[in-house]
Amino acid sequence: MYDFAYHRPKSLADAATVLKGKDEARPMAGGMTLIPTLKQRLARPTDVVDLGGVKELAGIKVEGSNLVIGAMTKHVTVATSADVKRMIPALADLAGMIGDPAVRNRGTIGGSVANSDPAADYPAAVLGLNATITTNTGKHAADSFFKGLFETALGEGELITSISFPKPDKAAYMKFRNPASRYAMVGVFVAKTGNTVRVAVTGAGPAAFRVKAMEDALAKNFTSEAIKDIKIPADGLNSDIHGSAEYRAHLVGVMARRAVDAANK
């Protein structure tokens, strides 16, 4: 790891100020991705701005029928929160499936969403639940947030402050783990709210995406039977030593059906 200048601001305003003056500064949330990236010298920031001291960014609030989760809220907190379990149990389940206990004790929702790792779990929930991402400069709708591999709609120096999840009628997340790394080879988040159904996929493509054909079929008939014949094209899906694009395309169907069954339980 190359050395860098370390900053630990106490407020969001201070964090934004530190980031602003520097071209190669990187914010750090839990560091569960950034620190391994620095070790491999895949990034070489001049400055690391540790958000761990910004207390205003952590915490979970219920606002009407929305669950508002602060960016620096740790996975373990989301997984065990009574409010999350009551409002959106599928989201608590998802948080409890990330990494392992020690990683969940450090990793944060904001870090995961801002990073847009193709195999991260949270992007599927953000997209599947039609969440709103609030930053220090504005708001982003989930549908226009995940742009590509490690690429989001966040601008230079823009920091996620919280993510607001509307409560669905039912939802579930199913993931097929890579047997070694435990990352999602494919994860599918399915949510039904009134007559609207959203199906969001992580792990399969460069970034999380929705499957319109499944959403339309499930809106008419919310059963796994309704989507059993829908095939996902393998074009543009991830292909690596862990699985081919065709294999991942197949897994999307399997995980989507399991998620619908789980949501109906």
Partner: protein, 161 residues
């Protein structure tokens, strides 16, 4: 960038000068000479480096020393009450032959203690196996580690630790 860092390790205040990039595990091993905490994979997969920071398990190879400023850190060296009295989890690992080469053991023990406390001293085999997903052992096959943790849970409760 050189930074002064101060924290409590195993109940004792410690301080030192580190680089911003110094990992917590490097600070423990190379600055404090506490080599009980191991570095296995150095990619946050294997769990040999698990320590407790403010009471919860973390992988000390994936945390900067400066992030532990002011924190209370517990390592494997800080568990035993005295030279001849092991922590119930250490004792259970010994009784159940839960180690062969011993490389993963410090991390296993630290993760196991956190696990027992998070589950309020009540664990079943399935939970233990699932919760060990962040700790790799390449020689025991896990069976005796699982047995040790199941045996240690009531022992920890009885000992009030």
């Amino acid at each position: 960038m050189t930074i002064s860092v101060a924290m409590t390790v195993n109940g004792k205040p410690v301080s030192g000068k580190v680089e911003a990039r110094t990992l917590l595990v490097q600070f423990l091993r190379e600055h404090l000479g506490m080599t009980g905490t191991h570095v296995g994979c150095d990619t946050s997969q294997c769990g040999a480096c698990v320590v407790h920071v403010d009471g919860t398990s973390v992988k000390s190879c994936t945390m900067l020393a400066v992030q532990a400023e002011g924190a209370k850190v517990t390592t494997i060296e800080g568990l035993a009450a005295s030279a001849d009295k092991l922590h119930p989890m250490q004792e259970a690992f010994r009784d159940n032959h839960a180690l062969q080469c011993g490389f993963c053991t410090p991390g296993m023990v630290m993760s196991a203690i956190d696990m027992v406390k998070r589950h309020n001293y009540q664990l079943d085999e399935t939970t233990v196996r699932h919760e060990l997903e962040g700790n790799l052992c390449r020689c025991t096959g896990y069976h005796n580690i699982v047995k040790a943790i199941l045996a240690a849970a009531p022992a920890m409760k009885a000992a009030g630790v």
